[in-house]
């Protein structure tokens, strides 16, 4: 396998412009002769499907939800970054680029990140034109807020529902194309296999989740925009349905998997209450603009009511350790700091796994009304879940799995190692390095969907008009048969444990050994435990019902089966990356004061894993990262 990033020549500022000119075009009259499949209808998928439909391609879009509007991009609360410099506070494309590369702990590809920063400004324009109701000031102009990892105010937002509003914008553009007939939408369809013919991606096999029918859909190119795989941890802030099946199937058909160990643990989630817990709920990072994070200085104070702990007995540990960024330190650093204080026995709440996020000072400074205006819906949500009033008593928060920076490896054109297979949004590995900054996921999803893929897909298609694939092509039939066989196998086990049981067990292993802090012994243990659990799964899982009906138990079992393979690759990648960087913290590599210690000499590269077959060890390939525009430095937020 050869990893060619296809980065255009020239100075970084001009790469994208030059590339756009160099790329081949498809004649407008010919576009309708090309068919493109888009899997997923979140920000990246909906934006891509709508934009390619507008261009004139014949697009088919698939999602597992009952409507494309429900993709989990909808849950992003805080905002979207863009280098608009509307605040006149020194922002620029260069600065957003620099912040993102630094925030990613120098493990992202410079050229991709620069392009992301460049098109960020177009995204805001596009969304406003679609009617996204961003927050405004009385003068009618757009408002901004600050977010972690940046010293400028460049985050645009729509109350605490930015993801929802951006997704609805993309969804409406998509529905418009559906109404015009350029996009055909398949809801409640789950991708089960990638169809590769003569080395090129030519279609997918799906299961109709209502009738159970296994169908093949053929095309000239396939775009996966299926999101991240954080649900491998079972407890995560992802939607329950989010899964890694599409990218995992593609991996098994030859797409390299980039940096699977890079997972983001978000610092501000509502802590776990019990074994019944089915997911974790995130509180927007924007809360850290006004909330102060603290724990008691003395472990014996942890049982006290927060109001009874005197000011001098509180440890505002983020402000103490990172004075210049304070409570807005990046996510990986804030999460790890929370884990540290809890490990020291100073955590609060049930199980001692929580820290306070306190608004008392902000309420005193700005008034309750202002706080309510800014965060009202988040406070309401918190109260509904915990039955505690955050205006009166500090919130309790704890880190939770939130995002995966890793994903299928793609080149500058967002194409994977399988020609014709493009990967967009969180599903790819490209822009965030080892840690993603807040408000950058929305930016990347929309950048890929609106402003990158519409260009790069044309370049591919212009050179690759393959012959029409017959529906009974042996490779198509083989992919269908593999899908059917897999589902039949799951239904046939007839064991005693539910798919959820195995999912929960897998989650425990991953959280324990491949979570916020990792070490060699733990990872090796996980690499032994996961195959054992997987073997048990295939002997003891119980999937009821049949494959020919709406069967949520079968859907879940299929996803869990893939997570159990993917989880193993995550641990393997974490074991092989013998350094700490961003969200990947190896306890063996830390500075004296507990910060991540990179090894740029040996690990300034992307690890891309190649599948070699059932039961065989995957091969680790390397794409060296060149830092020509950003000086490699120790990431400091002190």
């Amino acid at each position: 396998m050869e990893l060619n990033a296809n980065i255009p020549d020239g100075p970084i500022e001009q790469k994208w412009d030059k590339h756009r000119f160099d790329m081949k075009l498809v004649n407008p009259a010919n576009k309708r002769k090309y068919k493109v499949i888009v899997v997923g209808s979140g920000l990246a998928g909906a934006a891509a499907a709508a934009s390619m439909g507008e261009l004139g391609y014949e697009v088919e879009c698939f999602c597992y939800q009952d409507s494309p509007r429900r993709a989990h991009s909808i849950a992003a609360q805080g905002g979207i970054n863009a280098a608009k410099n509307y605040r006149n506070d020194g922002d620029s494309v260069q600065r957003l680029f620099y912040d993102t590369v630094k925030g990613g702990d120098f493990r992202a590809r410079e050229a991709n990140v620069y392009r992301l920063a460049q098109v960020s400004v177009n995204i805001i324009d596009q969304c406003v034109a679609q009617g996204v109701p961003f927050a405004r000031e009385y003068g009618g102009l757009l408002d901004n807020r600050s977010f972690g990892g940046a010293q400028v105010s460049r985050t645009f937002y729509a109350r605490g529902q930015t993801g929802q509003q951006l997704l609805l914008g993309a969804y409406q553009a998509l529905e418009r194309q559906i109404g015009l007939g350029t996009v055909k939408m398949h809801t409640r369809h789950e991708m089960q296999e990638l169809i590769v013919i003569d080395g090129k991606a030519r279609g997918i096999v799906t299961r109709d989740m209502v009738t159970g029918e296994i169908e093949s859909h053929l095309a000239d190119a396939v775009c996966l925009a299926t999101g991240g795989y954080g649900n491998a941890f079972y407890l995560a802030t992802y939607a329950k349905g989010c899964n890694g099946t599409a990218i995992w199937r593609a991996y098994k058909k030859g797409a390299a998997f980039g940096n699977p160990c890079y997972t983001q643990i978000h610092p501000t989630c509502i802590p776990v209450t019990g074994d019944h817990q089915s997911k974790l709920t995130l509180m927007s990072e924007s809360l850290r603009n006004d909330g102060r994070v603290w724990v008691p200085k003395k472990a014996e104070d942890c049982g006290k009511k927060p109001g009874d702990i005197k000011e001098e007995d509180r440890d505002y540990y983020l402000e103490r350790k990172y004075p210049s960024y304070g409570n807005l330190a990046p996510r990986d650093i804030s999460s790890r700091a929370a884990k540290q204080v809890c490990d020291e026995g100073r955590g609060v709440g049930p199980g001692g796994r929580g820290v306070y996020l306190d608004f008392k000072d902000a309420i005193a400074r700005l008034g309750k009304a202002k706080i309510e205006e800014k965060y009202g819906n988040l406070f309401e949500m918190y109260e509904r879940i915990t039955d505690e009033n955050p205006y009166a008593t500090p919130m309790r928060i704890y880190p939770a799995v939130h995002y995966t920076m890793g994903g299928l490896w793609v080149d500058y054109n967002l194409m994977s190692t399988v020609p014709g297979l493009f990967v967009l949004g969180e599903a790819n590995f490209s822009d965030h390095g080892a840690n993603r900054l807040g408000a950058s996921a929305l930016m990347q999803g929309l950048a890929d969907g609106y402003f990158v893929i519409p260009y790069t897909i044309g370049n591919y298609l212009a050179a690759n008009k393959g012959a029409k694939v017959a529906a009974d092509h042996p490779d198509v039939k083989a992919a269908e048969a593999a899908t059917k066989e897999r589902n039949a196998r799951l239904l046939a086990v007839n064991g005693k444990e539910t798919p959820t049981y195995f999912h929960r067990e897998l989650g425990k292993i991953l959280w324990e050994h491949c979570g916020m802090a990792r070490n060699e012994a733990g990872l090796k243990k996980a690499l032994q435990l996961i195959p054992e659990l997987r073997a048990r799964f295939w002997k003891e899982v119980r999937v009821v019902g049949t494959g020919d009906e709406l069967n949520q138990s079968l859907e879940l079992a299929g996803r869990v089966a893939d997570f159990m393979e993917l989880g193993e690759l995550m641990c393997l990648d974490a074991l092989e990356r013998r350094e700490s960087c961003g969200g990947h913290f190896r306890e063996e590599w830390q500075t004296e004061d507990g910060e991540a210690q990179r090894d740029d000499e040996n690990f300034a590269h992307v690890a891309a894993w190649e599948y070699t077959g059932e039961g065989k060890a995957p091969i680790r390939h390397v794409e060296a990262l060149a830092f020509e525009n950003v000086h490699l430095a120790t990431r400091s937020y002190k």
């Binding site: 679609q130 049981y501 949520q552």
Partner: protein
């Protein structure tokens, strides 16, 4: 410390769209008040699966009250007894030990049941496809600050845009009308300057699709507003009616090069 509860569920079970449905009594045991309503169903389903029976199919996804997927009528109220709360954000502390809980799907001709509590809400997507958008092809936009928008209008548009498309309004309406949903989108886009060029065509086409989907009509009961987890206001329906009337009054016969309004 809160204590676990035992509950009796009356759940609508229906094999598929064509089958006859009916209520089944299911016991829910050792339910913690900290569980969400859907986590309670998870626990019940785990037991059902272990018995080798068919678990209760229900729609859910984000479980944080924003995706609009969960959809069930709990004791006669869409999303259950708490105001402005989706079923996934409803916690069992709203119930007490020994309670009987009736769980039904959204009931409307336009939302056919697919299985148990799962319904098909594709009608909503088709209404949006008919006109619930601003035509702004990718790449055509001017600078975002080129068009100042009064904060009040932006806020009102955001209020309407907060709709999560769950369909509780239809479920709650005695007439199974979708007017709160449709009017929320008409208002969101119609309140913004970007939405003006298509304002009257939009409302005309969306209403035509709404009628074609065979939803009922509004008789101004206000049940939709009361059931809406996002507090979408009835004022939106008045705004839609106004725009519809205005659009119809000024409508021209189709002219060459374009039609309508």
């Amino acid at each position: 410390m809160s204590h676990d509860m035992n509950l009796t569920l009356q759940v609508w079970r229906q094999k598929n769209a064509k089958a006859e449905g009916g209520f089944q009594t299911i016991k829910a045991q050792a339910i913690s008040p900290d569980m969400s309503f859907l986590e309670m169903l998870d626990v019940v389903n785990e037991e059902i699966i272990k018995d080798g029976k068919d678990p209760i199919a229900f729609d859910h996804d984000c479980r944080e009250g924003i995706c609009g997927t969960c959809s069930m009528v709990i004791n006669g109220r869409p999303h259950g007894p708490k105001e402005r709360t989706t079923a996934c954000q409803l916690h069992m502390r709203s119930f007490k030990d020994g309670d009987a809980i009736a769980i039904e799907p959204w009931r409307a001709k336009a939302f056919p049941v697919q299985k148990d509590l799962v319904v098909d809400r594709g009608a909503f997507d088709r209404i949006i496809a008919a006109g619930g958008f601003i035509s702004a092809p990718t790449g055509t936009a001017q600078d975002a600050n080129g068009l100042p928008i009064a904060k009040e209008n932006a806020d009102l548009a955001m209020d309407a845009a907060a709709c999560i498309g769950c369909g509780a309004c239809v479920a709650a309406c005695p007439n199974a009308s979708a007017m709160l949903f449709v009017s929320a989108k008409v208002s969101h886009l119609g309140l913004l300057p970007q939405g003006q060029p298509e304002r009257f065509i939009r409302v005309r086409d969306m209403v035509a699709q709404m009628d074609a989907e065979e939803f009922g009509t509004c008789t101004n009961h206000g049940e939709c507003e009361a059931a809406c987890p996002k507090g979408i206001s009835l004022e939106n329906i008045a705004r839609m009616n106004r725009d519809y009337l205005k659009g119809k009054l000024i409508e021209r016969p189709a002219v060459a090069g374009g039609g309508g309004v």
